[in-house]
Symmetry: C2
Subunit: 223 residues, 2 copies
């Protein structure tokens, strides 16, 4: 007797992620999946990026949290279309949650969609959402050993951000050690050192982001 | 036809947690389950606590990480019995992992066992290990909104630590807002503000910890 084997527990999620991806492509919206520890500065990073985008580029945001709408309120105050997903205790966003949120966004009128995942340096890496780029944000106060201790999520990144770079000295953060760990798990991944608070390094990140967009080029960068 | 229903997916874990708890009690060891975000300072907190314990009190440590033995090496350098558990990507410790690690520790010769969970402010709260106290460590750089955004783990805490208190001003951290959020999800939970780096607040925490131990009283505190 042949016993059927369920080959990949993520298949159902992956299939819906592909449907999301098709919808994003049809709408002409470029999508970032932002993953980080709690408090690494995901929302500040979205805001600091929004501040530096051309007014012609129309952004939207999906906020993922276990509970609360603190971040969605912050984003909404900027007049940016935003949807809050509360996972009700769940440790990551998944493709069906994104699918449920999409009708709440004016997708055809967006160019760039930020999806802020639940603060968690482990689980979000295992669930595709249909995004174009996986962005992993580390932050200086977390310490320079994170790529060694959380290799999975750093390996899954298309680009890595090191935030709160203005506090290197306060935390005795060893940049070389961090970078060696990152290169071990994800060689040649683009990495930007920046501070959302001071603005240091933001223009390099935004220039890279714009270079990834299919139709919009770095010259639309307005500051 | 009556269809059997699996009532609680955690039952298997809970049963093994109870076996762990029985072993801890038989060995006369008091056990802390330390839970926090990546980089909140769990290992520094263990070290700073060890520094302030009487030499008569014999500690041990179980280190949980997805990968690496960085923390175990740091603890081991102090001459403290330590076991490293690598979850191989798993987002939390569970009771069977602890059970597997126990034979590697001289349990009967320990008074106090620190279990450092995987850095994750969501999943560890759902898996009992058999510990006597759940310790949740928040840190100032993560921001004052964490109890609102991650209510589950703060609700599960027997005691809450706010670490890196020397950096309140650097991060514009609103202590009242943090405390209100904490009281909303876990009224009357003991909470200690401290800095492992400067030592501020450590003596209050250690006095409380010693007050929880069944046989050892605060007068054994040696500094």
């Amino acid at each position: 007797m042949k016993i059927p084997v369920v080959e990949n527990i993520l298949n159902a999620n992956d299939q819906i992620a592909e449907a999301n991806r098709a919808d994003f492509e049809a709408a002409g919206v470029f999508v970032l999946n932002l993953m980080a520890s709690p408090g690494a500065g995901k929302t500040s990073f979205i805001l600091a990026t929004l501040d530096r985008l051309s007014p012609q580029l129309r952004p939207g945001v999906i906020e993922g949290d276990l509970a609360s709408r603190i971040d969605a309120d912050t984003i909404g105050a900027r007049g940016v279309p935003v949807v809050q997903i509360n996972t009700g205790g769940g440790c990551h966003l998944d493709a069906p949650m994104i699918r449920t949120a999409l009708p709440e966004l004016p997708l055809a009128q967006l160019d760039l969609l930020f999806i802020e995942n639940v603060g968690n340096l482990v689980c979000p890496a295992n669930f595709a959402l249909g995004a174009d780029r996986a962005v992993v944000i580390a932050s200086v106060p977390e310490g320079h050993d994170k790529p060694y201790k959380y290799p999975g999520i750093f390996a899954s990144a298309d680009v890595v951000i090191l935030n709160k770079i203005d506090l290197l000295d306060v935390f005795n953060f060893d940049l070389d050690y961090f970078r060696r760990g990152l290169e071990m798990v994800n060689p040649d991944v683009p990495c930007f050192y920046l501070s959302c608070r001071t603005g240091a390094g933001m223009s390099e990140w935004v220039a890279w982001l714009l270079s990834q967009l299919p139709a919009i080029r770095p010259q639309t960068l307005n500051k």
